[in-house]
């Protein structure tokens, strides 16, 4: 099986980049990490992802793969004999994992981000309520998928764990910004405990950005409007 050389274009702060890095760690694949400079887009990025011009981009034997969830699936398939399976093997479980991963991106993340971009208390309160409602859905999803096991994927971290877990650094930053708990031990106990397990996983721990550093970066990315 030809491994070829592996490069990943990304940034330490990006949730989507982290997904690819976790997947590569799970498969014990070494890669060259090409850190993008904030505020600019490298020539390689623009050339490798001409359609969206976004990171992450995985470049495997000179062939680019774009879109974080697609990259994770690709890593699982290209290195299928390395390490544990990332996607569930049964078609139905696979469909459920992909459904919830899409929900995380299309509904949950949008709500989380709107807390950071909210103008005024009313908008912030509404955004927080939306995140709480959607996090509640994810708690139910965890029960449905995990079947009593420690992760969405069962015994090991998998596709949906990666899709949601990569947000944990930002989740904390948004909590601080909103001054409101968004991952509540009593309201969503299963998710709360899953989050701790996920962050402590050896393939995740070295990648999770430090909260203070990320909060500082968030202030750059989402500047508060002048009063």
């Amino acid at each position: 099986m030809v491994t070829g050389d592996v490069k990943l274009i990304g940034s330490w702060a990006s949730v989507f980049v982290m997904r690819a890095r976790i997947a590569l760690n799970l498969k014990s694949i070494s890669y060259e990490f090409l850190q993008e400079t904030y505020g600019t887009k490298s020539e390689l990025l623009l050339k490798s992802n001409p359609v969206h011009k976004k990171m992450p981009v995985l470049i495997h034997a000179d062939k680019p793969v774009c879109e974080s969830n697609i990259i994770v699936q690709y890593i699982d398939e290209a290195w299928s004999s390395y390490g544990p399976s990332i996607l569930p093997s049964q078609p139905y479980d696979n469909a459920i994992a992909r459904f919830w991963a899409a929900y995380v991106d299309d509904k949950w993340f949008i709500a989380l981000r709107s807390i950071l971009t909210a103008r005024g208390e009313e908008e912030k309160k509404a955004a927080i309520a939306e995140v709480e409602e959607r996090t509640d859905h994810l708690e139910k999803a965890f029960m449905e998928c995990s079947n009593g096991k420690p992760f969405f994927n069962g015994d090991h971290i998998g596709y949906l764990d990666i899709a949601l877990g990569s947000f944990l650094g930002w989740w904390k930053v948004v909590e601080l910004d909103a001054n409101h708990i968004l991952l509540d031990e009593t309201k969503t106990p299963s998710l709360f405990q899953w989050a701790e397990r996920f962050c402590n996983d050896p393939d995740v721990k070295p990648l999770m950005p430090e909260t203070t550093k990320l909060a500082e970066f968030a202030r750059k990315l989402f500047p508060k409007p002048q009063a």
């Binding site: 359609v51 495997h60 062939k63 793969v65 774009c66 879109e67 697609i70 990259i71 699936q73 690709y74 398939e77 290209a78 078609p91 139905y92 696979n94 469909a95 992909r98 459904f99 899409a102 929900y103 859905h137």
Partner: protein, 219 residues
Amino acid sequence: MADEVILLDYWPSMFGMRTRVALEEKNIKFDYREQDLFNKSPILLEMNPVHKKIPVLIHNGKPVCESLIQVEYIDETWPGGNPFLPSDPYQRAQAKFWGDFIDKKVYGPTRLIWGAKGEEQEAGTKEFIEMLKMLESELGDKTYFGGETFGYVDIAMIGFYCWFDVLEKCGNFSIEAECPKLIAWAKRCMKRESVAKSLPDSNKITKFVPELKKKIGIE
């Protein structure tokens, strides 16, 4: 044990058409149940409580939601015949990329073309043409998006074809003039029985859009 396959759908939906085409391609017998989206049925609300949207594929009582997820599910569950996705991981990633592109970039502008007016509509038209050109460039001179065999990206895109007529009328432009290869591709797809069976006539969609606008309160 015979499979029980139900599809909750809405006849003009280009997303529902994906699932119809996929099921027909695999020769799966299914119970098509037309939904009233303005008065959602208990089964729809029960089977898709999160989004309350069609299409919903119910296989032996278990729901699968989201059209492209359904297409992949159908391909994996009934592996006979031509696979929709190639086996090579890189080719698969490419196919999924373009399916995702169609969802993220092609659908949005269509709503502006038939649903908006003035500058908004013009912007939608411009964006739509730009996105179609990207797709056409990806298609190149191939028979189908995946090469010689009809597959995932073709299924993802073909439902939009029956909407082209109304979009052209609303946006006052010609898709064939802008993207002749894409039109040629669509006509090839329409020759397939699965597609001909699953897509409504263009003029049905064209007649339907003004009614839809009234129903959702757009003038």
